[in-house]
């Protein structure tokens, strides 16, 4: 146990108990723990309870995965990598085609004299709104996420 910077005697005792259970006590620390346990019966009772917990968890292990999992593992990761590129290309293509389709449609509708002016204005507002929303989402994804200093901090 190398971290000696502890705030209180209780904290020190707790850490000594943990290090003792996990075999990370130095010779001097072992003596220190013994003295603490002799002086505080409640601490000794707690130590004994922790020892029982340790004895139980020591007999247990993570259940092994079936062996065939490992032979297909890299192939599955590789598929994910390919799918990622596929999705980017698909999204880019879809955005370009949809934008072109929307532009062509709007242009045609505006040129059509039989369509009432308020329908044309609504359609224009709808198109401009969709573009603003799209740009806003893309901007947030690309720039804000990149500059967010605390994006990796877990809440």
């Amino acid at each position: 146990m190398s971290d000696k910077e502890v705030r209180s005697p209780e904290e020190r005792a707790r850490r000594l108990i943990m290090a003792s259970l996990d075999g990370e006590l130095s010779g001097g620390e072992r003596g220190e723990l013994e003295r603490l346990l002799d002086a505080h019966p409640t601490l000794r009772a707690e130590w004994a309870r922790f020892q029982r917990v340790k004895e139980v968890t020591e007999t247990m292990a993570l259940r092994p995965a079936p062996e065939e999992v490992w032979s297909d593992y890299w192939a599955s990761v590789y598929s994910r990598l390919e799918r990622g590129i596929g999705w980017i290309l698909f999204s880019l293509g879809a955005i370009v085609l949809l934008s072109y389709g929307a532009w062509a449609g709007v242009k045609e509708l505006i040129a059509d004299a039989t369509i009432p002016w308020f329908v044309k204005v609504s359609l224009l507002a709808l198109t401009v709104g969709a573009v603003v929303l799209l740009v806003s989402v893309v901007r947030e994804k690309v720039f804000v996420a990149r500059r967010q200093r605390y994006k990796d901090v877990e809440r």
Binding site: E11, R15, L21, V53, V56, M60, V77
Partner: protein
């Protein structure tokens, strides 16, 4: 002899990371093969389900490759990967929908090390052990995620305090405090059976 092997291993990992950073998928594949078991078991200890651990650990590798520009050949690759694994696992656990499904489909992810031989020799004792194992598993699942993480790294992955501290980027004292709280909570949960 052992030192030479460690150095050689580190040098080969550094070379693989450098190649992976440049987009070499074969090199990245070697890193995956090297660390897939560790990543899987780390995820299993955190989420407690084979299917989810497999999915999350594979996703972590995929994300590590996509963000390969952040890889530092001078730092251990597993440390970088583990940060992604734990973030994915914690997000997964926090997702209320997944939590609901998980409660409905609880599967055993811990086992008694005594194994099948002991079970054949004494079936009564074996049933008792399985029951205890299920209780310990349920108690660990109820621990807060950070306590569970430290407990799993210590008890089931066998890491030393220094290694846990390095992996999580926290002081050794914090590792010990979390371990203390985890064991205290575990002791309280298992009071009737200990």
């Amino acid at each position: 002899m052992e030192f030479a092997f460690v150095e050689q291993n580190e040098a080969s990992e550094r070379a693989l990371v450098q190649r992976a950073r440049a987009g070499d998928r074969r090199a990245f594949g070697e890193l995956v093969t090297r660390y897939m078991r560790r990543a899987y078991y780390a995820a299993l200890g955190l989420v407690g389900s084979h299917e989810d651990a497999l999915d999350l650990s594979q996703e972590a590798f995929a994300r590590a490759f996509r963000a390969r520009a952040n890889l530092d050949p001078e730092l251990p690759f597993y440390g970088y990967l583990y940060q992604i694994v734990r973030r994915l696992c914690f997000n997964f656990l926090r997702d209320s929908r997944t939590r609901r499904v998980r409660m409905e489909e609880a599967t055993p992810w811990l086992m008694n090390q005594a194994g099948a031989k002991a079970a054949a020799a004494d079936p009564g004792r074996s049933a008792e052990r399985s029951e205890l194992c299920a209780q310990v598993q349920a108690a660990i699942e109820r621990l807060p995620e950070r306590e569970r993480e430290v407990l799993v790294l210590k008890e089931f992955e066998g890491l030393r305090y220094r290694e846990i501290a390095e992996l999580l980027g926290i002081p050794i004292g914090t590792v010990m405090s979390r371990l203390y709280t985890a064991r205290r909570n575990l002791a309280a949960e298992l009071e009737g059976v200990l």
